[in-house]
Symmetry: C2
Subunit: 303 residues, 2 copies
């Protein structure tokens, strides 16, 4: 199953012409899950040629503008573009009110239904049980209520060994085998053992998104062993005091969380506008956690 992460915006609060505000796209199989939606994210999605009919879920971490000011524009444009599929928006208290009041004043009725799921950022909670994945919130420590999101692939199905299957083997039987069940042929009574015709599925993968947050070890237990951790690294260690003061993290702190939670891969982002060159962030993080990558706008990362 396709499970990857595309970076649309790596900036932080202060706007620059070289970085877009926070927005990320998780691709699971053929479905898109948008994570945060800073101003002008709809243009980033257009650039990536994302088919919006396949994007049915948006996750908003918190109500600082660099994480959600683009949402009202995105929804308006989807409606203008005649979208009819439901959209589920997972976000904090207040988001529904902010969107609703704007549609009220523009006298707009969206062409599609919006389902709001309100997060309670102070506790981990299951916010989505989707056929492909589950999503839990990750409580984060920031200046206003804020949570990350832990995306866990559901147990993938067993893999069929095609060469071993009899010719014209009925499709419902194949599904039974994929689901780990033995099959008894209704006509002949012959038994096909799942273990003979399938191999073990790949292990389910997981992805944790943690932005914005101070250095905080409380989340480690929840994200332990995650395949890919995205962790904000607004600052480098030279601005540790500013990171503490503003409830953000340094690259080294992000790497420490990755190392302590035994993540397999770390991607850092949400860079302060004071840094043009990010090689310091990378070196600093890799000194603690080797498999660190910089989030680069437009790039896609396998989870």
């Amino acid at each position: 199953m396709n499970f990857e992460f595309t970076v649309l915006g790596t900036g932080s609060a202060t706007p620059t012409l070289t970085r877009n505000p926070s927005a990320y796209l998780l691709t699971v199989d053929n479905e898109y899950f948008l994570i945060d939606c800073g101003e002008a994210t709809q243009y980033r999605l257009q650039e990536q040629k994302i088919r919006h009919t396949r994007m049915r879920h948006v996750f908003i971490s918190h109500l600082h503008g660099d994480h959600y000011f683009g949402l009202v524009g995105l929804l308006s444009s989807l409606s203008l573009n005649r979208r009819t599929e439901d959209m589920t928006i997972v976000g904090p208290r207040g988001l529904a009110e902010i969107l609703t009041i704007q549609f009220k004043h523009s006298e707009s009725i969206l062409n599609f239904k919006v389902n709001f799921i309100e997060t309670e950022p102070e506790k981990a909670q299951l916010v989505l049980d989707h056929p492909l994945i589950t999503v839990e919130t990750i409580p984060l420590q920031h200046r206003i209520p804020c949570c990350g999101f832990l995306f866990k692939e559901k147990q993938p199905k067993r893999k069929i060994i095609k060469e071993k299957l009899p010719e014209n083997f009925p499709i419902p039987y194949i599904h039974q085998l994929k689901n780990g069940q033995d099959v008894t042929d209704e006509l002949t009574g012959k038994v096909y053992l799942c273990s003979d015709f399938t191999t073990e599925p790949t292990a389910p993968k997981s992805f944790a998104y943690c932005s914005d947050t101070a250095y905080d070890e409380q989340k480690i237990e929840q994200i332990r062993g995650v395949d890919t951790l995205f962790h904000e690294a607004t600052f480098a260690e030279n601005e540790l005091q500013r990171a503490i003061k503003t409830n953000h993290s340094t690259a080294k702190q992000a790497a420490t969380i990755a190392q302590k939670s035994n993540a397999k891969q770390l991607i850092i982002g949400h860079y302060s506008s004071r840094y043009d060159d990010l090689s310091g962030h990378l070196t600093e993080a890799q000194s603690v956690f080797k498999n660190t990558k910089l989030a680069i706008e437009g790039d896609t990362y396998k989870i």
Copy 2:
């Protein structure tokens, strides 16, 4: 006095990668007046290297998103960039509420004071009396309450004939002459006639901004003789029925308003995303009103 108009966004509701949503900057002397503020306008201002300390007034025509979704982000960023100058926002009922609720949820307190002036789009009203200009609303006919703005330069001062002035002529006396007053020298009693030392000032200029609007002759009396008319031309005549249905105008209709109001120059913009090539708009408009220009993003037009 410098009096010019810079185009930041020429798109209409449906977003494209080739046009930005509505935003225009009027420059009067050294002051900037922002007119409409679609999504991502703050980046357009950065590209134009606009000194935000000189921008103290924002005018919002109506609450369709392509005309104001960028305002909350602009204000947030100005505050992050430590602006302290007051900002006056002229816009329709609802705008203050929309902004306030977003700052409440982000727990943001702006570094500067915002003065809201609420328009009453159904009638022409004086909304700003500034040392350099006055601004009146222009009632427009659209799907939701909407008004344009008529910017009128105040009577410019008389021009000093420098060669005629005595050496070391006191500056307060110069100001008296510029204001049209004769001067009596306190020491010598000598009288300096204003008519001897100054020439007539240039005629005060005016600029009318009309977007979004159906074809509507009611505004003609108010804007008669305007130096520059910006009028929306969402469609060309091939989409006249759509223009009527959506309360927008065609290029030809915009030109008809310019011609009937005896404007000196017409600039058209707010183009529908269905038009890549705008030469049809221009030809059509010029067939009715010769001195028509297309609004081009990044370009500045003398008024």
